[in-house]
Symmetry: C2
Subunit: 313 residues, 2 copies
Amino acid sequence: MQLKTGLFFLITFFSLCTFAAETDPLPSWREGPIKASIIEFVTTVTKQGSRDYVVPADRIATIDNDGTLWVEQPIYTQVIFMMGQSKNKDFQNLDKKMLEKIFIASSTNMSVDTYESSAKQWLATAINPRYKKHYTELVYQPMLEVIRYLEENQFAVYIVSGGGQEFVRAFSDTVYHIPVEHVIGSTGKTRYQYRDGHPELIKTDQPLFISDHAGKPEAINLFIGKKPIIAFGNSDGDKDMLEWTQSSPHKTLMLLVHHDDSVREYAYDTQSKVGTFSTELFSAAKQNHWQIISMKDDWKVIFPFELRADQSK
Amino acid sequence: MQLKTGLFFLITFFSLCTFAAETDPLPSWREGPIKASIIEFVTTVTKQGSRDYVVPADRIATIDNDGTLWVEQPIYTQVIFMMGQSKNKDFQNLDKKMLEKIFIASSTNMSVDTYESSAKQWLATAINPRYKKHYTELVYQPMLEVIRYLEENQFAVYIVSGGGQEFVRAFSDTVYHIPVEHVIGSTGKTRYQYRDGHPELIKTDQPLFISDHAGKPEAINLFIGKKPIIAFGNSDGDKDMLEWTQSSPHKTLMLLVHHDDSVREYAYDTQSKVGTFSTELFSAAKQNHWQIISMKDDWKVIFPFELRADQSK
């Protein structure tokens, strides 16, 4: 009787293992070369004894945020936050210098804690006019699955955003399950002050670094000190990060999200001011064998709320 | 029979648990209030259901390097490295500005990879004239035990050094078992370049930040974005980090290593140019209930090689 119970548990245990192994880690991705390449990559680098095995300490993944993990059109969400409630602004005429000025003006002399609270409060209440959803609901379900899949395989997953580090930190943990210490982004200098036994960090108007373009590998080296082995981006600002990743001595995988779904999201590339995917980037991707993810063809669903809508039918 | 076997395993299991619980996690520390406070702190914040319980994600420890984890007298090891083989230099006349100049001159236009290699090579060969040991052997055994003890209790342990980030990264993993991504230190800007398909990060002569004094909480916020709950330092440069730690809403513990052992190491405090422990710091420690570790009284052994010497007797 006891032997039978033991056997029963043993069989149940192995059945569960088999079930887990056969569960699709990326259910929102359509079957195809891109999905296959991600699974093949993760399987190979985590397989002990494999020629391409990578120890857990070196399994570094870096993922861009705007346009790679969530919607960036018609303008970066952080810009909408910075501009507060003035929704009639002409976003299309904003250039990078102007964005930096707004960025600095909106936070200078504010404590880091106050900034975090106001970003969290805004994210909890602001509604995107097209989708009628909170901005944190406009994240890409297939990428959430990638993050979870990588973390389950002992990858350290970092966000490397051209956007503000503290803005992304305000939602990274709850929305992406990426802890704040794994969020790298553009940031300004802070000033430490200690008054009446109460220490504070105050945001200044001095930039520290912009983690976009060449600033991405520079920031990766500063924060991580190791090269990524897998990286996801979607625009010209991610090119240097992908080159840096590819120069790792380990097996690597570089991917770019291409926004080609005007129905479910947006379609833009070479001509867009926001999230430009230039012809140079298309050439570099081809030359370096970087994978181009078609949102239209490779992603069954775009947003998590589509799954919930499915279930409620 | 099977019941008896089960019982045997159960008893063995619990005996092992008890044995593990009773093993001293800090064998190189003498029994006393400091050792007791570290063990009491770790036990309390990791005990589920305790009023002071802290979830693993918030168990952040920050530890200074020079004078807290390894010897900093008569001059910082990195300065000896930077000056190469010119051992007759008058270290005592070097001020901070001069050190910064040497720091910059010794690495500008060097790639990050080349710098790392040369630091590793130097550390593997250079010998400390007083102890006749490699510099990486002049680390404090009691602090190695603290790092291990914290990591075993799911703390994320970071080094926050006023010294160069890349110099400390060259030995942090092998000597302290602290991964390079947990090393925060003073650093300069790098410049990304991509030539003939070969990307490189080049060190420039532009400083990025100095993580000493107020720069320590600033750097902690930049890299971690969470307040530490336990912090170790040894000099005036660590005061702001300890204040910042103490302002955490969680239970906290702040400690300072006091160099009062002229026989086994060095004795210095208010009058020392290197690792100054000023009367102001003594006052702040008293006022804020920071623990002062006496190297002479609290540490049974200072260096790992003393243990090996003991065993070989």
